[in-house]
């Protein structure tokens, strides 16, 4: 669902094809009929942005047919946990949960907590506020619990306030008929999917759900995934072979980019960035951010080791290991709010490193206008991208809105090295780090990012060397001494990897994060990666041929944490440690040797902890996790059907309509996700719900033949020729309604912009019947821009910025639009056209 695996991950898709060959059922639930659908046993088209309704229907079906995996749910999830009395569900409050604070437009989440937990503990850690990223804002890593146990549990799961009963009630109205009405699929199709999932789950069988940005790029992105996780927990499909929820990531190291983030709100290993609340006090930070129990109970070990890795000898017990050197976040400083701030002149400098926001980011026109407000911009790429050239050629130049001579931004373009020209790790979509070796030196001035940041850092440090200013201390005290080699003085990437892995007091490489200490004796750049250089060997560079190993291929690359290939794999055994079935054997308790053993994976559980283990009084961290609780990152070791903390928009997924939609919410008076982030301003206006001026649903997507903004494909001859022109896909019925000619041109208009595209009339984009009328859709791949071998208008110019406040990702997958035959007007007439639409639709522009 929400994934086009055959097109976006063709090589990964071989495994789906192979499973299918062996008799696995394969279903594609997606608005579009894609190459993925063409291969499926069944394609169920649904309206974009209605996934929660569909999955909610599946959850309801599971309860209606008593198909849930009782033993799994009882022991491994928080289904039996009783929730606080003051919790009010969205079902009972018109689509809003308890705790809504209209003044701040945010939820106070205390009431979502487990019964008999205190305010603070129940709400998890509250160092940060609702205006920060959801994960941190509401205590991603959980709440304070005695011995890892929720205070009130009803193992019969009959208590009206136990999670399972709340869940049942919450989704009771998501009947097949309602699903069909909201999603536009047939009841028959829906029931076939629900039945297939239930029939293929249990002790003997598992089902997997695959998603991609078709789920994340919504104002309800996180809750889409939550809904799937509820399905999988109820059916017992987590932590087991052939199960799980598989996020298919679109870029070589996008998983790695969050594990070791270049993200504003987290440190390596998902440690939250500090907030001013804790002041200079490290212990306060730990107290506010880490639960006492579970793997996060050792947050201080991880944090101190990280600080030691960064500031070395300058990080001492006296100075809180340099904790105060870290900058503080007190708001949403993510990409889109920063671009808006930039548009208002609040940002002086920007680095675009292998990234092309003027094509790839939503409302790319706003991106270009914002760049023009910078003092300086640095772009690193293979060749100057649209973002590097925004001052030279841009649609706004054509429409007369901007001129090169008026743009005062200094622009640096630095040529980058290719993956073949540097050593390093990509983390693939299943957390597997695979080392790629350098084959040759980069040409000319092209350099790796490692070279760039290392030498930039050195230059800054040199310039500040004599500074007495305390704010320069963190830079000067930084451990920044990597061995360099070759004619270009390239830093040694393995030396960096060793720092990430971490060293013990003796300077030897550490083997697991369990060895990290909070006394400054260990240094580790990313606790989840601890062990990647175990025994002084680059484990991620292991390349034992797959054909010489079993299917787990444990000696190829390295997966965090602890080289675990299936996360939470303790759940592949029953509470007593026996495999759920012989057929689905994976990790089990070996009574003879008193340890967890497996088919060839690392158990994601303390190796010697018996299934019957019960924590002692006052147990902390991993000691507080029972032997039958596989989900060790949660303080209670349970998977959360109901999320008492960690989310800003509710403990349970709830159907909300997208920001722009032709329809009213059929289930609740609350139309949209109440916590979504809007940026209403003239550059980013929104369409009214159900606007007849913008009657069609617009989606953007990718093609096999191109890569994101096209910077890595429109410049490559063999890819450029496969999909040479920007096009839109429409159904024959919409083509007839609007007089669009197959193979001709169409202009697609929103209140943001108007673009032109070639018309591909196809049955693949079927109209869906919603509320008794057909909804027509316009779909567009977004790969084109003004630079490259093949060029074209950018679909992202059409989209508004509107974010899921949990993660600040914009809603790329649904907006509304109009489409008309012919090419778009040139010059200022393009603006006029958009303006005319705005007025007709009564669009609010500020």
């Amino acid at each position: 669902m929400g994934s086009n695996m055959a097109e976006q991950h063709p090589v990964g898709f071989q495994w789906v094809m192979e499973a299918h060959e062996r008799g696995a059922k394969y279903i594609h639930v997606d608005p579009r009929f894609t190459r993925t659908s063409a291969m499926a046993d069944r394609h169920v088209p649904i309206r974009a942005g209605t996934d929660i309704a569909f999955l909610g229907g599946v959850i309801n079906y599971i309860f209606e047919h008593d198909a849930w995996f009782r033993e799994y749910v009882q022991h491994y999830t928080n289904g039996p946990v009783i929730v606080r009395e003051d919790y009010v569900d969205a079902e009972d409050a018109a689509g809003m949960f308890s705790g809504w604070d209209p003044e701040h437009g945010a939820y106070q989440i205390e009431s979502w907590g487990y019964d008999e937990t205190s305010h603070e503990a129940a709400g998890g850690k509250k160092e940060q506020q609702g205006d920060v990223s959801g994960e941190q804002a509401q205590g991603a890593h959980g709440m304070k619990l005695e011995r890892g146990n929720p205070p009130n549990i009803d193992n019969s799961m009959q208590h009206p306030r136990c999670v399972l009963q709340i869940l049942k009630r919450h989704f009771a109205r998501y009947t097949p008929q309602v699903v069909s009405e909201i999603c536009g699929c047939s009841e028959r199709d829906f029931l076939a999917v629900a039945r297939a999932l239930c029939e293929n789950s249990g002790r003997e069988r598992t089902s997997a759900i695959v998603y991609s940005v078709g789920w994340t790029q919504h104002t309800v992105g996180v809750q889409n995934i939550r809904a799937a996780s509820i399905v999988q927990m109820l059916l017992g499909n987590m932590g087991r072979p052939g199960g799980g929820i598989l996020a298919l990531r679109g870029h070589a190291n996008i998983q790695g980019s969050t594990d070791i983030p270049t993200l504003y709100n987290i440190l390596p290993g998902y440690i939250p960035m500090p907030h001013p609340t804790s002041g200079p006090d490290l212990d306060k930070f730990i107290e506010l951010n880490g639960p006492d129990t579970g793997a996060w109970g050792n947050l201080k070990n991880y944090m101190v080791s990280l600080l030691k890795a960064w500031w070395g000898d300058a990080a001492t017990d006296e100075n809180n290991y340099g904790y105060d050197y870290l900058p503080r976040i007190d708001g949403d400083h993510s990409h889109y709010p920063m671009m808006v701030k930039m548009l208002d002149g609040g940002v002086q400098g920007m680095f675009c490193v292998g990234q092309n926001p003027t094509v790839g980011s939503a409302n790319s026109k706003l991106m270009r206008l914002a760049l023009a407000k910078l003092d300086w911009l640095v772009v690193r790429d293979f060749q100057p991208t649209e973002s590097a050239l925004f001052w030279k050629d841009s649609p706004e130049h054509e429409s007369g809105e901007t001129r090169a001579e008026d743009i005062q931004t200094e622009v640096f373009f630095l040529p980058c090295a290719a993956h073949t020209e540097k050593d390093g790790n990509f983390t693939n979509t299943q957390r597997l780090l695979q080392w790629h070796w350098k084959a040759l030196d980069p040409p000319g001035d092209a350099r790796s990012e490692l070279h760039w940041i290392y030498h930039l850092g050195k230059a800054v440090r040199d310039k500040l060397a004599d500074s007495e200013d305390p704010r320069d201390r963190p830079i000067l005290d930084l451990t920044w001494d990597y061995p360099v080699e070759g004619p270009h003085q390239e830093p040694n990437a393995e030396a960096v990897l060793q720092e990430i892995n971490g060293r013990g007091p003796d300077g030897k490489m550490l083997s697991t994060y369990e060895e990290l200490k909070d006394d400054g004796s260990t240094a580790c750049g990313s606790w989840i990666h601890c062990g990647i250089y175990k025994d002084g060997v680059n484990q991620s560079a292991r390349k034992k041929p797959g054909q010489d190993q079993n299917w787990i291929a444990h000696e190829w690359g390295w997966a965090w944490p602890k080289d675990v290939r299936i996360l939470y794999n303790r759940a592949s055994a029953d509470p007593d440690g026996k495999p759920w079935s012989e057929r689905k054997r994976y990790v089990w308790w070996d009574g003879a040797d008193d340890k967890w053993t497996s088919l060839g994976d690392s158990p994601d559980f303390p190796a010697q902890k018996e299934p019957s283990f019960e924590p002692e009084e006052d147990a902390k961290a991993m000691e507080a996790i029972s032997g039958d609780k596989p989900f060790i990152l949660h303080p209670d070791g349970r998977a959360w059907l109901f999320a008492p903390s960690g989310l800003v928009d509710g403990p349970l997924p709830t159907h909300y309509e997208p920001q722009e939609t032709p329809f009213q919410n059929a289930l609740y008076p609350q139309q949209q996700n109440p916590t979504r982030q809007e940026f209403p301003r003239p550059e980013n206006p929104y369409h009214p719900v159900g606007s007849p001026v913008f009657p069609y649903v617009l989606s953007t997507w990718r093609l096999t033949e191109h890569h994101t903004s096209g910077a890595m494909s429109r410049t490559v001859p063999y890819l450029a020729e496969l999909q040479p022109e920007f096009f839109c896909e429409v159904s024959p019925a919409l083509a007839a309604e609007r007089g669009l000619e197959h193979g001709g041109w169409a202009t697609i208009v929103t209140a943001r912009s108007a673009v032109e595209a070639r018309v591909l009339v196809t049955d693949r984009i079927k109209p869906l019947q919603i509320e008794g009328r057909p909804t027509y859709r316009v779909g567009m791949p977004y790969h084109w821009g003004g630079v490259g071998i093949v060029t074209g208008d950018s679909a992202n110019d059409l989209l508004p910025l509107v974010l899921d406040n949990n993660v600040h990702i914009s809603e790329y997958k649904v907006a509304t639009c109009d489409i008309r035959p012919g090419r778009r007007p040139r010059g200022p007439a393009r603006l006029k056209l958009v303006e005319e639409y705005r007025q007709r639709a009564g669009v609010r522009v500020s």
Binding site: S731, A735, A736, E741, H742, G743, V761, K766
Partner: protein
């Protein structure tokens, strides 16, 4: 593009783009794309078909006229043969781009390749014709009579092998006509040689050339008609586009030239020249018509798929696809 409502359509196989199915006769194809590639040959090739025929038949005419003792006619016919004989390789080289590419043709002798065989015929005929002609005019060439015999003998296949060449392709309008096309080309060669010689020779000495031209014209008309008749629907390309235009020009010029030749060719040198030119134009046009018809036949999938599919449905051929597993 006529858009249809997918919910009401009952067509079992429909496609969004109308070109996905070739319009005519319900023949299925891939988006109307051609199955075959059109030849890449340019204007030189149909001209060569003409000059080859002209050379071949003229050599024969000249040789025979010598035997008959009509030396004037023979010398003029040798001139016609020489013109064609010199032009032919030049045209081929021009089409290939470089002289050495023509030499490359002589790496092998392949019976399966009419072009290979033809290259050798051309080398022999084209090589001997100028010698023969010069010898006929001057008597200077040692062994000249052998050159003349050779030219005359190889002239005959030179005039018809080009038909074998185009017939031995996958292009339906050519290949299906492989039994008739050499006769069309042979007739055309006769007409070309007759016409050229008529134009070059005083009418008093040109009687055999006139007979040859007229016989060629009549035979050409008959064989072309027969060929198109036998092609049936496959012959449609002759009635379309450039092929049809050349065909019409060929017929009109041929009829006019023949008429003029019959009526005034014996008495008026001017009329003889005019009719010779008309008939030459007719011969050239006919070759062009055949040439273009081939292109048109290749570019429309229905001419390729239609007959193949029909032969399969008639049970004459099993086709290349099979649904029954052979295990």
């Amino acid at each position: 593009m006529t858009a249809t409502d997918p919910t009401t359509s009952t067509t079992p196989v429909a496609t969004p783009a109308p070109e996905a199915i070739a319009g005519d006769g319900g023949i299925r194809s891939y988006h109307g794309q051609p199955v075959l590639k059109e030849p890449v040959w340019s204007w030189e090739i149909p001209c060569y078909f003409y000059t080859g025929g002209l050379t071949g038949a003229s050599s024969g005419l000249a040789f025979l006229a010598e035997l008959r003792g009509n030396d004037l006619l023979a010398r003029r016919a040798w001139a016609a043969a020489m013109m064609g004989g010199v032009a032919s390789p030049l045209l081929l080289i021009s089409d290939l781009g470089k002289p050495e590419r023509f030499l490359n043709m002589l790496r092998m002798f392949k019976v399966t390749s009419p072009m290979s065989v033809g290259s050798w015929i051309l080398v022999v005929a084209g090589g001997s014709t100028p010698l023969a002609a010069i010898d006929a005019w001057t008597g200077w060439i040692p062994g000249g009579k052998y050159a003349r015999r050779t030219a005359a003998m190889f002239g005959l296949p030179l005039a018809t092998y080009t038909a074998a060449l185009v017939s031995n392709t996958a292009i339906p309008v050519w290949h299906k006509a492989h039994r008739m096309l050499p006769f069309v080309f042979g007739s055309g060669a006769a007409m070309s040689a007759g016409a050229a010689t008529v134009a070059l020779t005083p009418p008093g000495a040109a009687a055999p050339a006139r007979r040859l031209a007229l016989a060629g014209a009549v035979a050409g008309a008959v064989t072309s008609e027969l060929m198109e008749h036998r092609l049936g629907e496959q012959g449609e390309p002759y009635k379309q586009g450039a092929a049809a235009t050349f065909r019409r020009v060929g017929r009109v010029a041929g009829a006019a030239g023949a008429l003029l030749l019959v009526s005034r060719g014996r008495s008026s040198r001017a009329a003889a020249v005019a009719s010779g030119m008309l008939l030459s134009a007719a011969a050239l046009s006919t070759r062009w018509s055949v040439f273009k018809a081939g292109f048109q036949s290749a570019s429309d999938p229905k001419y390729v798929i239609g007959p193949q599919r029909e032969a399969i449905s008639r049970g004459e051929r099993r086709g290349a696809a099979r649904r029954e597993p052979r295990i």
